[in-house]
């Protein structure tokens, strides 16, 4: 008989770092990892939010901590990660978008998006992986990409570029870190209903267009992303690396 059991999805005794954990997808992921048994550190610049979220997780019986961290600050990132207990799981979730027509994108927009979505995420992953390698421990790095890491979309040239970049270096990291038993994968959500995206969906034209492309006929919910992250963080996916898990209701199948 197989050794598989549902407990393979549990994360007991695992330590996780989630960036951009103050709200939205990052917050939901942090709560999901804690519910699966992990000790979670929530990182964000919005200290009040992560502090409240960590307290909330603790109230529900989970193990959580928080850190006021700007992932754009490379020195601060290295200092924090090198000083903290090792993280077995990293969810590189902090990211941003500035939708604009291609012809109107300014270098300042480009830099804001690439510095956070690509550069910061790359070096947070490097810092976490360096610790794991030094301690001879395996781990799971989950980069929050997007369906826009696989296709293009109007008004999203810079965002698409940044998420395609993340897809590229995730595969390269998977190859280099595989021998150390550190897995690197991406999660590629479609549009997810969060406090940040809620105003977009009040525009009926936009909502209908999105719904026509998500073949399952509903906007994504944060729990859809949580399921994918828990799978990729857990032993259930222990042979999965260099993969992109699309959570897009069929958007990119078209």
């Amino acid at each position: 008989m197989s050794d598989f059991s549902l407990d393979d999805f549990r994360l007991d005794a695992r330590s996780a770092l989630v960036t951009g954990a103050g709200r939205g997808i990052g917050l939901a992921v942090a709560k999901g990892l804690a519910a699966a048994g992990a000790k979670v550190t929530l990182a964000a610049r919005t200290c009040d939010e992560v502090k409240a979220a960590a307290k909330d997780i603790q109230h529900q019986g989970g193990d959580a901590d928080f850190i006021d961290l700007d992932v754009l600050d490379h020195d601060a990132v290295c200092k924090f990660i090198n000083g903290a207990p090792v993280f077995d799981i990293l969810v590189n979730n902090a990211g941003t978008n500035r939708p604009a027509p291609f012809l109107e994108v300014e270098p300042e927009d480009y830099d804001a998006i690439f510095n956070l979505n690509v550069r910061s995420a790359f070096f947070v992953a490097q810092a976490v992986a360096s610790r794991l390698v030094a301690l001879n421990k395996g781990g799971s790095i989950i980069n929050m990409s997007s369906q826009m890491g696989h296709v293009g979309a109007a008004r999203r040239s810079v965002y698409c570029g940044s998420k395609h970049a993340m897809e590229g270096w995730s595969k390269a990291m998977a190859i280099e870190l595989g021998p150390h038993n550190i897995r690197v994968n991406t999660v590629c959500p479609t549009f997810i209903e969060t406090p940040m995206t809620k105003p977009f969906f009040e525009d009926e034209g936009f909502r209908n267009d999105v719904l026509s492309r998500i073949h399952l006929g509903r906007i994504g919910q944060m729990k859809d992303v949580v399921g994918a992250v828990v799978y990729l963080a857990s032993a259930a996916s222990s042979l999965v690396t260099g993969s992109a898990l699309k959570v897009d209701g069929g958007w990119t199948a078209d």
Binding site: F4, L239, S243, A253
Partner: protein, 250 residues
């Protein structure tokens, strides 16, 4: 949290379920709470596999069927309660140099790997739509559905075909809440793979190309199937989950 991955009350059909990956998937789905029907050409082995699941507390039944017999498969689906979960796992491989393949090889591989999976999906989906219920169809593809491999031209072709029709089915069946995805394993330790993996040079080459440095086991695939069958993946359709230790990242 684990409730998201549970399959209580779900009815699953797994083809090629008597041995290897199919057996592992059937056991995994049963461990997650599904009632599993194990279909295989071999009557004795499919009922033995089902009995083993029952002995460990699961809900399983074996059936001897040839997936190439489209009418028989259609009738079987018609006669049973709707399958909320279908795992199209039955498959074959014949390895030859590309110049040596004969039309009989082509037919043997494509009839099972592509044609049988296509029409079983059609039967299961039709019944789900008639009953107004959603479902999850999981097609066992391969890393060879993403890349090429020497002496595997027809196998690669058949698995790429699965990847193609899976995406198209996902688009058409999405409005009916039927999800369609693939799992793409690398080399897995099974009796069937033993013939290759017993060759130390071949094994070393495979281990070198799997960046995580180990050959897969059937539990790796069972876990991916449970994820794709469960509510945890309820927004995932038209996707391919690669369980290849990084093989195709390179």
């Amino acid at each position: 949290m684990l409730g998201l991955f549970q399959l209580e009350g779900k009815n699953a059909l797994v083809t090629g379920a008597a041995r290897g990956i199919g057996k592992g998937i059937a056991e995994g789905l049963a461990a997650a709470g599904a009632a599993v029907t194990l279909v295989d050409l071999n009557q004795k082995q499919s009922s033995e596999a089902a009995s083993a699941i029952k002995k460990s507390g699961g809900n399983a039944v074996g059936a001897a069927l040839d997936v190439r017999d489209l009418d028989a498969m259609g009738a079987f689906v018609e006669d049973n309660a709707p399958f909320d979960i279908l795992v199209n796992n039955a498959g074959v491989n014949r390895m030859r140099d590309v110049l040596d393949f004969a039309p009989t090889d082509y037919d043997a591989i494509f009839d099972i790997n592509a044609r049988a999976a296509f029409f079983l999906s059609q039967h299961v989906a039709r019944k789900l739509i008639d009953c107004g219920s959603g479902g999850s169809i999981i097609n066992i593809s391969s890393q060879m559905g993403q890349v090429g491999g020497a002496r595997r031209a027809l196998y690669c072709g058949s698995k790429h075909a699965i990847e193609g029709f899976t995406k198209a089915m996902a688009i058409e069946l999405g409005p009916h809440k039927i999800r369609v995805n693939t799992i793409c394993p690398t080399f897995i330790e099974t009796e069937l793979a033993k013939q290759f993996l017993d060759d130390p040079d071949f094994r070393a080459d495979v281990e070198r190309r799997i960046c995580l440095g180990r050959i897969g086991n059937t539990d790796d695939i069972a876990a991916a199937a449970v994820y794709l069958a469960s509510p945890a993946s309820s927004l995932v359709t038209g996707a391919a989950i690669k369980v290849d230790g990084g093989w195709t990242a390179e």
